[in-house]
Subunit: 249 residues, 2 copies
C-alpha cells in the first residue's frame, strides 16, 4: 500500500468521533463529550480538539453551542449545506446548461409521474397560487429574470413534495438551484421578447391538473415537453456554470 496521505491528528480525532456516531447509533441532538473530556480521553490538546470539531461542523455532522449544557451535538445536515458542498465539487468542473437539462429531463418527468394522485388538495392550491407571478409576460429583463426564478421555485417545491425519494428530491432541487443561481449572474436568454413566463405558467397549471387527477402518464409527458421547451430558449453559449459559491445553511 503506497502513498497514503499522512492524516493529521485533527482528522484522526474527527474520524474516531464519526466512528462513535455510527457505532453507538447517535441521533441528531445527541451530545458529544465536551472539549475537556475529549482532551483527556484522547490525549490531545485543546487546539486539536477544536480543529476536529470544526471539521465535523464543516461537514455538517455536528453543531456547537456555548454555555452550560452546551457542547457539540450531532446534527442532521441541512439540504442547503449539502447543496453548497456539492456546488464546491462542481466549481471547477465546467457544467453546461445542456448537462443540467439532460439530468432534469431524465428525472423530473419521473418525479411528476410519482406525485400523481399523491398530493393533497391544499398543497395543490398553494402551488396554483404561486403561478400568478409569471402568468403575464414580463415587461423588462429584470422582470423576466424574476419570473424565471419564480418558475424554478415551482420545480423546487414540487421536488420537496417528493413521492418519498429524498435523493431524487435533492438532485432535482440542486439542479434548480444551480439554474436559479445562474439566472442572477448572467443573461440566459437570447435577446428578443419571448413569453417564457406565461408559457411555463401554462405548463405548470396543466401539470397540477394531471397530478391532481392522478394521471401519472400525462404528468410525465407534460413535464418532458415543458422542460424541452424551456431548454430551447436558453442561451447555450452562456453555458459554463462556474460561478460563486452558494451560501451555506
Amino acid at each position: 500500500m503506497a502513498g497514503t496521505t499522512p492524516r493529521r491528528r485533527p482528522y484522526r480525532v474527527a474520524d474516531t468521533i464519526k466512528g462513535w456516531i455510527v457505532d453507538r447509533q447517535l441521533s441528531p441532538g445527541d451530545r458529544l463529550p465536551s472539549e475537556a473530556e475529549l482532551m483527556a480521553s484522547l490525549g490531545v490538546s485543546k487546539g486539536t480538539v477544536r480543529e476536529s470539531t470544526r471539521v465535523l461542523e464543516a461537514q455538517g455532522l455536528v453543531e456547537t453551542r456555548t454555555g452550560p449544557g452546551g457542547g457539540a451535538f450531532v446534527r442532521e445536515m441541512s439540504e442547503a449545506r449539502a447543496i453548497s458542498l456539492l456546488s464546491h465539487y462542481l466549481y471547477f468542473k465546467d457544467i453546461s446548461i445542456r448537462d443540467i437539462y439532460q439530468i432534469r429531463l431524465a428525472l423530473e418527468p419521473e418525479l411528476a409521474a410519482n406525485l400523481a394522485g399523491k398530493v393533497n388538495a391544499s398543497e395543490i392550491q398553494r402551488l396554483r397560487n404561486g403561478l400568478a407571478s409569471y402568468a403575464e409576460p414580463a415587461v423588462d429583463l429584470d422582470g423576466e429574470r424574476q419570473q424565471h426564478i419564480d418558475s424554478l421555485t415551482f420545480h423546487e417545491e414540487l421536488a420537496a413534495l417528493s413521492g418519498g425519494n429524498p435523493l431524487l428530491a435533492f438532485i432535482i432541487r440542486f439542479t434548480a438551484q444551480v439554474l436559479s443561481d445562474l439566472t442572477v449572474y448572467r443573461r440566459l436568454y437570447e435577446p428578443g421578447d419571448h413569453h417564457i413566463g406565461p408559457a411555463g405558467c401554462q405548463y405548470h397549471a396543466w401539470l397540477l391538473d394531471a397530478i391532481e387527477a392522478g394521471d401519472g402518464e400525462r404528468a410525465r409527458t407534460l413535464m418532458h415537453e415543458h422542460l424541452l421547451e424551456a431548454q430551447a430558449v436558453m442561451n447555450d453559449n452562456e453555458a459554463q456554470v462556474r460561478r460563486g459559491f452558494l451560501a451555506e445553511g
Copy 2:
C-alpha cells in the same frame, strides 16, 4: 431579518478566503497566504487561522503542505470526497434500494445512449476484459458479493467515460457506490441460487456491443432492461441505506 446564526470568526475567515478564490479566480495549485500572513492581514490569532483552514480543507477546497514553500493550496475537490460528503447528508435520511434504482433507471439508460459511438476501441476492450470475473455463476455467498461489486464497478467505469456530463457521471457513480457499500454490509439477495453474475455479464456484453456499434437506442433499452432485472432480485426488505460513512479521498 431575524435569527441569523452568529457565525464565528473561523467561518468568517473561511468565507473571506472563499471570496478570494472566486474574485481572484484562483485555480487549483494556487497558494494562499501563509498562516502568519493571514494572522497579520486579518488580525486574528493562529488558532483561528488554523480552524478556518481546517474548515476549507474539510470542504475539499484546499490542501495544506508543510515545509518551505508549503502552506494552503487551492484544490479541485476529488470525486471521492464529494461522494463522502453527500453520503453524510443521506446518513439520517433512510434511502431505500427502490429509491436508488428509481434514479439509476432514469439516468443510466440516458448515459448509455449518450456513449454510443463515442467510446474508443481500446476502452471497450478494457471493459470487456473486466466482464470475465462474473461470467460464471458464483460458488458461494461471498463470491456472489464480489461479483455484485465487480458488476457495479462496470457501471462506475461506464459513468466515468461519461459523454462529457460530469454531474451525470457523479450521480451515477454515487448511486453505484452506495449499492456497492451496502453489498459489503448486508445480505442483499433473497436466499436461493440465482445466476446474477452471468445474467449481468450477458447484459454488459450486449451493452458494449451496442455502444461500439453506435446504436444509442439499443443501448438505452438494454440498460433499462438490465437494471429492471437487477432490481428484481434485490431484497427490498433489507432496504434502508443507513450505514457507515464512506472513506474520504
